[in-house]
């Protein structure tokens, strides 16, 4: 069945495809960066020996009682505030019952009827420049399952419970996305947000950020939603986009051949770029949720909420707006600079010391970022202080050094010896530009004198010779002449 479906995909006509609208909702699980688990004090450290971050609670032994991790609740609230969600004041936990070897209790401790965050939105920007806001249904708190390991040639499945009970938030979007690009951008924004808020490391390849996609199609103009297919097992943003594209085509083909689209769970295979049904039998998706009697309600007081709100870092979209509106930067610059919180804050600090915001942006996006990328360093490890970088920008603005001298000579020297300030290095390297007219004039005059023939040619119309004169002036001044001043003197003499 699947084989036939997959081969047909290749023959889908674009006109046929355009008859349909793609509808996507995403469910994103983010592993929270807490030290201990959601309901027990076991460590959440990744990579420890199997079954060492365990306790009787994690293993689901009878008679044990869970206790909520306060910081995990705060992290969930932070995410909700950042997404303009409404924060639920009275939180009750729920049991989601199902059997699986990586779930020792036989139920997952999660939230059902009253998730901690209700509603909200995530603004995205598409490559066309179009802006769109993706509505959230909810964000709720829950715990991760253990890890099942299926080794080839092994008769058993091996289970490691180190991950069981690690706190998660599940971010559920409304079916608001209409293309794989929108889904990709939504995920990008979610990742940026969790990293800004320091609630999750956002690493999809390592599984700290996971995404399931609910994909359906309908004829354009139709109001009713089609049967949704849940796609799992995508380990990168790109694969989420690929899985959605494939699902779109598969469902259109089914619809075109009048075959019913079944509401089911499918798994994505990254090698073939296709999806396959995960369950052959009809799915008994009955989790029999009921309120968790072992956990008392978590009440979010006005005071607690305010403390969290007050400690919220600036959000990427706030910084983006500030960079554009207040610093007058192009949207491109603002996007690059606000993409990463640490870079954005570095740039912000730099802008407190210089008012040449565009120059600051160019320095951070160019030389600073390329140095960090080259050595795969974090901005915290950047050797040059913000003050020194600001004084280098100041030197250029004041005409004391040329940009090229600053970028090619002074900046590398500062990286090697960060204690010295820009002016000190410029002086040592003899790079201070001669910008006083009095000292440059004799140099210009002697150059023109040595090239009297060329001066005549210039005066008879060969204006292109200006570059040659400049070169000579630079050479005679050992590269220290301020080009602006030198040009001014040259023009004055030659054009009179």
């Amino acid at each position: 069945m699947n084989m036939i479906e997959e081969t047909k995909v290749k023959t889908l006509d674009i006109k046929v495809k355009n008859k349909y609208e793609l509808v996507i909702g995403l469910e994103v699980h983010a592993q929270l960066l807490t030290n201990s688990k959601m309901y027990t004090a076991d460590s959440t450290t990744f990579g420890n020996l199997p079954n060492t971050n365990i306790s009787v609670i994690t293993l689901g032994h009878p008679g044990t009682l869970p206790k909520v991790n306060k910081r995990a609740v705060e992290f969930a609230i932070k995410m909700g505030l950042a997404c303009d969600s409404e924060i639920t004041r009275k939180n009750i936990f729920a049991r989601k019952n199902y059997f699986y070897p990586d779930l020792p209790k036989g139920y997952q401790l999660t939230q059902d009827k009253n998730p901690i965050c209700v509603g909200g939105q995530v603004p995205i920007v598409l490559s066309s420049g179009e802006k769109k806001s993706i509505a959230l249904t909810r964000i709720h708190m829950e715990e991760d399952a253990g890890k099942s390991i299926h080794l080839a040639g092994e008769v058993d499945t091996l289970v490691d419970f180190n991950r069981a009970g690690v706190p998660l938030i599940e971010i559920v979007s409304e079916p608001d996305m209409r293309s794989s690009e929108e889904a990709y951008q939504f995920l990008t924004e979610i990742k940026k947000l969790v990293k800004y808020l320091d609630v999750c490391d956002g690493n999809m390849e390592e599984g700290s950020l996971r995404c399931d996609a609910n994909v359906s199609i309908r004829l354009r103009g139709e109001d009713e939603l089609g049967k949704k297919v849940e796609v799992k097992n995508m380990n990168s943003f790109r694969n989420v986009a690929r899985a959605i594209e494939h699902e779109f085509e598969r469902q259109v083909l089914l619809s075109e051949s009048n075959t019913e689209i079944i509401s089911e769970t499918r798994t994505f295979d990254a090698t073939s770029g296709t999806t396959a049904s995960m369950r052959t039998k009809e799915d008994l998706n009955d989790y029999r949720y009921f309120p968790e009697p072992d956990l008392s309600p978590v009440i979010v007081s006005e005071e607690w909420l305010k403390t969290i709100q007050d400690n919220l870092p600036p959000l990427p979209r706030e910084l983006f707006e500030k960079f554009v509106l207040e610093y007058g930067l192009p949207e491109y610059d603002a996007g690059v600079l606000s993409d990463n919180k640490e870079i954005a804050l570095f740039f912000e600090a730099l802008c407190h010391l210089t008012t040449n915001y565009k120059a600051a942006s160019n320095w951070v996006m160019g030389p600073v970022k390329s140095y960090l990328n080259e050595l795969t360093l974090h901005i915290d490890d950047f050797p040059i202080s913000i003050t020194s970088l600001a004084s280098l920008i100041q030197l250029i603005d004041a005409g004391k050094v040329s940009y090229s001298a600053a970028a090619q000579k002074i900046y590398p020297a500062m990286l090697l010896d960060p204690k010295k300030d820009a002016l000190e290095i410029a002086t040592e390297l003899n790079l201070i530009q001669e910008s006083s007219e009095d000292s440059l004039k004799p140099i210009v005059e002697s150059v023109l004198k040595e090239n009297s023939q060329k001066v005549l040619e210039y005066k008879s119309g060969k204006k292109g010779l200006m570059g040659m004169f400049m070169g000579q002036v630079m050479k005679k001044s050992n590269g220290k002449a301020d080009p602006k001043v030198a040009t001014k003197i040259l023009t004055e003499i030659l054009d009179n």
Binding site: A41, K67, V155, V298
Partner: protein, 95 residues
């Protein structure tokens, strides 16, 4: 209220329970009894009454995010029906 066979089968499946014809009959009886007993509660008017979720009236019983003592690895694996030196072993769940 009488529990029908299909509901019984569904609940048994979800709870991973198996029983023969005879036990199924007995189970249907028992569960019908339980349902009838619980049904009695429905006679009460609970309009505007918040559902009771915990027996204690305490709220905000939370832990600070601090790592505590772990269960010893050996002790943790001790009661496993099947194990090796590192892992719990269960019948293969994926083909």
């Amino acid at each position: 209220m009488k529990l029908d066979t299909n509901t019984l089968k569904k609940i048994a499946h979800l709870a991973r329970l198996e029983f023969d014809e005879e036990s199924a009959g007995k189970m249907t009886q028992d569960m019908t009894q339980i349902l009838n007993w619980v049904e009695k509660l429905n006679e009460l008017n609970t309009d505007g009454v918040e559902p009771l979720t915990t027996m204690s009236s305490e709220v905000n019983v939370m832990r600070e995010d601090v790592v505590g003592t772990h269960l010893d690895h050996e002790k943790g694996l001790k009661n496993a029906p099947q194990r090796d030196s590192d892992y719990f072993r269960v019948p293969k769940v994926l083909e």
